[in-house]
Symmetry: D2
Subunit: 275 residues, 4 copies
């Protein structure tokens, strides 16, 4: 028997950093995961911990670097953590830092008061192996909905098919996206990619979630040259037209039953290169 | 033995209504709970269901009334449901309708595309008994945070007290509020009350969550004459200053550990009347 | 304006206590909530905290009493906390302690290894005001299901009724119960009441959730003289017979679609006294 | 630009199947996910849905096959679904079926009454591509805890290390395991693997989560020749000794603060083959 790929680290380190400038506090609210790969087999097989950092130490480092690093960009903070752990962990060969940023929105132009924002949770993943560093960004929990301009027609009909065709339905999804950059991105890039995703979701008649997924991915690659590849995962949160005929009422696409399960799940990656 | 207070109904009816006007679809995304009280003892004790509406029927009614009612105000929709069930349920003496509205925000000035909004979940409760109808509104899951202008000093110190005093801390909470109206409110009233709550959260130095709770409640009663009484429940989501001295670093209220449990919980009701 | 009823405390204090006896460690895994009532108006209205215990101090007390108290019974531990805070909090008039116990089950007859148990989360609430102490116990998240011996017939049929009658359906619910004792119960009492609830759920043909609720409540009062009153809240987790006729298949109550929303909600209190 | 890997399907189909034999109903409560891979590019790029099955049809198939298949083994049910979709979906090249089984435990020897069981959620994944079929089983949410016989010593100490060493701590984790079989397993195999995991968790002094992970994995490979490889993911749910010295009390590993975040996360794969 053999120990194959293995890793360890600290997950869900909740760190909040305030930057205080006169008249304007800036707030970054992060959940950080640290994962180290390397040869830790002595700990696994003989109980020899001498090559292991405590995960508690990793937590301490996240807070310490949050103090010394400006966190002017999520990716630069992630890269600083990668660099630290590549040096600090004996026998470490690869470090992966996952950061999720929880959105806050300033109350008007208030100096220091905020409410929870919207637009999804931003993610950033920085991984380092030797001198190579990779950057991936993403978004979770971005709920979007169209009340029309969506249909589902012309699909396979077999003996188990009961769904009617429609050219007017609600389309609702919770966007989960991950995209990779060729090099460390500028801080405003994430917001720009999100805006592109939102715009592309809304700008067309959708004959299927598949079509909309592809269009959103292509829009990001077209408008953001730094993005190499994007993966989208789109659950189809079905809104079922409620049958009101039984009560003598019509229902011209007005009243729907929103469901959570089951749901369709459409996934795909769009990348640069010849089709 | 005796059956004392009892009730039944349908919970979490998920209804979405679209109102289609040229150039502008309006969307209301609701979760509705129906609860009936009355004398249902025959069902409980002898298995005689002849006085019971099926909860499935209640669900059908919610969708049917969503079609025929404009849902121009949450409270008027709730009142229509109350009126229906007071008449439809034999032996029913009291009806309570709880509605939660999930926020959506239009994408720019798009006709029919939305993203999940922010600012908390709106609630409305309408209850009817005989000819009397009561109206209660509320808000859930409104996360707010101040990076400063909050302290905690001068509290009791006994042999179990280890917390240091501070005049500069993060104050973070998840506002849960419920307020009652003397009569059916106008639709824009809810938004106005929320704005007052947000403003009052941010407009002062907070010596305690208790003080801020009272100020928020008083602000609502002062500015909104239709509100009779307000209950606030404010969990104190502690943000702990992380000790960086151990690593040779200072931490002048910049880097915090955000915690979820345990949390302080401060609750109170503010009402009109002589102090 | 006036501050009406108000309270504060610490919620979700997660305390685990091990009792080590040779060959057999005993584990109690608790979440404790402390809530104090009294006259705390100075803090609310003038920022004077001199009558307030820090909620952090309450947390410390929970851990300290977990050390000095045997926790041989949840209720006696709760009563010790009540007594402490009635004395420690200046101006406190009422203390409420809520305890939830997370179940663990010993792995075979192992001295010190456990897996998460089943049978629901035990709750205990002890409240003290002056010299009076009240005891309430309960259970949360107890999922039970019958594959037959449940029906729903003879209910009101009106113009919004579409549900067919049935004398054979799945009955599934998540029992939430709360019962009160006349005086502090013995530790094994909780387990005995749970067994009664499970037995009464299963021992009859159920013509409605209402009937089963009443039978479960009556069984507890009959067999447990120390219980004064019991409240049951039973969500009806509908299992819908899936229509397979469309595919040329019968479905004699064999294949069901389990749903989570909407759900019926049946609630009632059974108490001692002449009917 | 090019569409790279893509897939679609239906997630969270909730199907309950009862098998009624005299005196003993058997219940299987499943959540099924269907995912199809193949060339669906026409739908993505030109809105041509003619090669797509509706995900609603996939749901129908799950219920129909639940009727015609005995579900005597999760894996054989999964294989039947794989076979169906490889034939039904035009252009489909690969099908993956994920099944989660929710545990129920019979109430005593009752014919048809159950309560939610324990011991984690069973998972089964069957994937088919051409004539090749692979079988993977797993377990989620298996909480286990040892009150002693666990330590953490001899790890790296650097300038960010503050954690003391210990040879007596609580070890608590939520086992997530996935293992692969060379061929379709017999139905009782899953239970046997789970028993091995539980036994191996408890049978030794643990110098680290890494060591225990490796021992659990090796035990499975040793005792279950049909298992080719196992991946374990073990979050370290830290239980922190609460400092009671401040209150004049000792705490010889008796009273702990149970935490949920942050947590250590230890992952590894053990496979057959020369070490």
């Amino acid at each position: 028997m053999a120990l194959a790929r293995h890793a360890y680290g600290k997950s869900e380190v909740r760190v909040v950093k305030i930057t205080r400038t006169p008249g304007r506090h800036v707030l970054r609210d992060l959940t950080v995961d640290v994962a180290l790969e390397g040869d830790f087999s002595a700990a696994h097989t003989s109980g020899d911990n001498s090559a292991l950092l405590a995960t508690d130490t990793m937590r301490n480092v996240v807070y310490a670097l949050a103090r010394t690093h400006p966190i002017d960009s999520l990716e630069s903070f992630g890269a600083a953590l990668v660099e630290h752990f590549l040096e600090a962990g004996p026998t470490v060969t690869r470090v992966r830092i996952d950061i999720a940023e929880h959105p806050w929105e300033r109350l008007g132009d208030h100096e220091h008061a905020f409410q929870r924002g919207h637009g999804g949770t931003r993610t950033a993943t920085v991984a380092g192996e030797g001198s190579a560093t990779t950057y991936e960004a993403g978004i979770d929990d971005l709920l979007v909905l169209k009340t029309t301009a969506s249909g589902w027609e012309g699909f396979v009909r077999d003996e188990h098919t009961t769904l009617p065709e429609t050219d007017d339905r609600i389309l609702a999804t919770i966007v989960c996206a991950r995209w990779s950059y060729a090099s460390a991105p500028e801080e405003p890039e994430w917001q720009a990619v999100r805006d592109t995703l939102l715009h592309a979701f809304a700008d067309h008649y959708s004959p299927s979630v598949q079509f909309t997924l592809n269009r959103m991915g292509e829009a990001v690659l077209e408008r953001h040259p730094g993005v190499e590849r994007i993966h989208l995962s789109l659950p189809n949160r079905h809104h079922l037209l409620f049958d009101l005929q039984r009560f003598g009422l019509d229902n011209p696409n007005l009243v729907f039953h929103a469901t959570t399960e089951p749901y369709g799940l459409i996934e795909g990656t769009i990348e640069r290169g010849a089709q």
